[in-house]
């Protein structure tokens, strides 16, 4: 069983959104991103020097990170800021599954 993902930074920005950065136990995998809830849009900029991934659930959160690296960032939209940490950890656990 993988260790739990760990919150490494939480900060408010843009007058209400909340950023939560999480360290995954292993590097971010593209297949794990593709398995996330289909209501979001996944974009992986493969041709950059490092493959940058962004998964956007409009009105809820934006997940960003580099495929293969452990740190991912959740930018929680205003309406969901109060449950930012809980939501980010839940999604991070989905990514680790």
């Amino acid at each position: 069983m993988s260790p739990d993902p760990e919150v490494v930074l939480m900060r408010d920005c843009l007058g209400g959104e909340r950023v939560v950065e999480i360290e995954l136990a292993d590097g971010l995998r593209r297949d794990a991103l593709e398995r996330l809830d289909g209501s979001g849009t996944l974009m992986v900029l493969d041709s950059l020097p490092k493959p940058f991934a962004r998964y956007d659930r409009p009105g809820f959160f934006l997940l960003t990170g580099i495929v293969g690296e452990r740190r991912v960032r959740f930018t929680m939209r205003l309406a969901h800021r109060d449950r930012a940490e809980e939501t980010a950890l839940a999604v991070a656990r989905e990514l680790a599954a």
């Binding site: 920005c13 843009l14 007058g15 950023v19 974009m43 900029l45 041709s47 950059l48 020097p49 490092k50 940058f52 962004r54 934006l62 960003t64 580099i66 690296e69 960032r73 930018t75």
Partner: protein, 365 residues
């Protein structure tokens, strides 16, 4: 790493500033007693004050814990209290919040689409009883300067004091513009230490101190002394910060700001990105805000940092009113800003990163 966040703080610090800071850390407490270390400290502070004074002709230099503290002192301490306050359209919160907190009516100076003040309209639409104008020298979001000298003349003619936020410009643009109070920090283009600020107080300006305490003389009195700078400098001064600033001010900033500004803007334009708020023919610092179609500024900042090793800043830059002018208050922008230590190599890295990023973002959208 290529560093393009000089508008937040300029790195690396000036070596002379670091030497000054170390010297300051070993001195006594100026103005308190007459022993050798105290006198050496007092002499050093006087020397620093004279060096900073060269940036603020005909003003009394007072030291504070940053530009924010200096602006609060200027705006909240001004006597008589203004009954109406005029605000620059692109103000940083360090100036805007204390002005709004006065609890008196405020109005925004008329401006164009880039946030540059329209002096003719300002004269025509001037609000009666305006006793104070608070304005930024240049925008920390777009780099574009305001017509401060003409605004000061107008305000003076109409009986209003002017507080100038010169945090972005100190050391690189002249501050001899006719403002009554000028505030700036030490850690931007002067490359001294954070936590140190200056308030230049013009002749005849009356200020109530916001912080009261010991100054080293008049100890038996209940009230703060009337004389400057001590009236505004209660407590033990930040000697490392003050001596660092003095040393940096003596050396000055040697930098072709206009060329740097043009070069930075050109890099962003060349990448095909949307530059905001710089269409006017106004002088500007090398501070450029842009957006990337289909990408949130925060994501762009993260990409530049983690993929390209280029450091920029995204968001509202503590200047929400500037973003309202630009129409970017919901998402903010990405801001790049260079400094006197920025090299051609840094610019080439930025150009490569922005070009790559813009191309791939277009292809992906």
């Amino acid at each position: 790493m290529s560093y393009f966040d000089h508008a937040a703080t300029s790195l690396p610090r000036a070596p002379v500033a670091l030497e000054g800071a170390l010297r300051g850390a070993e001195l006594g407490n100026p103005g308190r007693g007459l022993h050798r270390l105290q006198r050496a400290a007092a002499d050093e502070v006087d020397r620093a004050r004279r060096a900073v004074g060269a940036l603020l002709p005909a003003m009394t230099v007072t030291f504070h814990a940053g530009a924010t503290a200096a602006l609060n002192q200027a705006i909240a301490g001004l006597r008589p209290r203004p009954r109406v306050v005029a605000l620059g359209p692109m103000l940083h919160n360090a100036a805007r919040r204390p002005a709004r907190a006065l609890g008196v009516p405020t109005w925004t100076l008329p401006h164009d689409a880039d946030g540059v003040i329209d002096l003719d309209r300002a004269r025509a639409e001037w609000v009666d009883d305006t006793g104070l104008v608070v304005v930024g020298h240049s925008s920390n979001v777009t780099g574009v300067g305001q017509p401060v000298e003409a605004l000061c003349a107008l305000a003076k003619a109409l009986g209003a004091r002017v507080v100038l936020d010169a945090a972005p410009t100190a050391g690189v643009w002249s501050l001899d513009l006719g403002a009554d109070l000028v505030a700036f920090s030490a850690h931007k283009h002067l490359r001294a230490l954070p936590g140190t600020g200056v308030l230049g107080v013009g002749p005849g300006v009356e200020l109530e101190p916001l912080v009261r305490g010991g100054v080293g003389f008049d100890a038996a009195a209940d009230e703060m002394p009337e004389v400057l700078p001590e009236r505004l400098e209660a407590g033990t001064p930040n000697l490392p910060g003050i001596l660092a600033l003095g040393a940096a001010a003596r050396v000055g900033v040697s930098w072709d700001v206009e060329a740097a500004s043009g070069a930075l803007e050109e890099v962003v334009h060349a990448a095909g990105l949307r530059v905001l708020g710089r269409s006017a023919d106004a002088p500007a610092l090398p501070v450029v805000s842009f957006t990337v179609a289909g990408q949130e500024p925060r994501a762009v900042e993260e990409m530049l940092d983690r993929v390209f090793d280029v450091t920029v800043r995204a968001g509202l830059h503590c200047a929400p009113s500037a973003h309202r002018v630009l129409g970017t208050e919901r998402t903010g922008t990405v801001r790049v800003s260079s400094g006197s230590t920025t090299t051609a190599g840094d610019l080439a890295e930025l150009a490569r990163a922005l070009g790559d990023l813009a191309r791939h973002a277009r292809a992906a959208s």
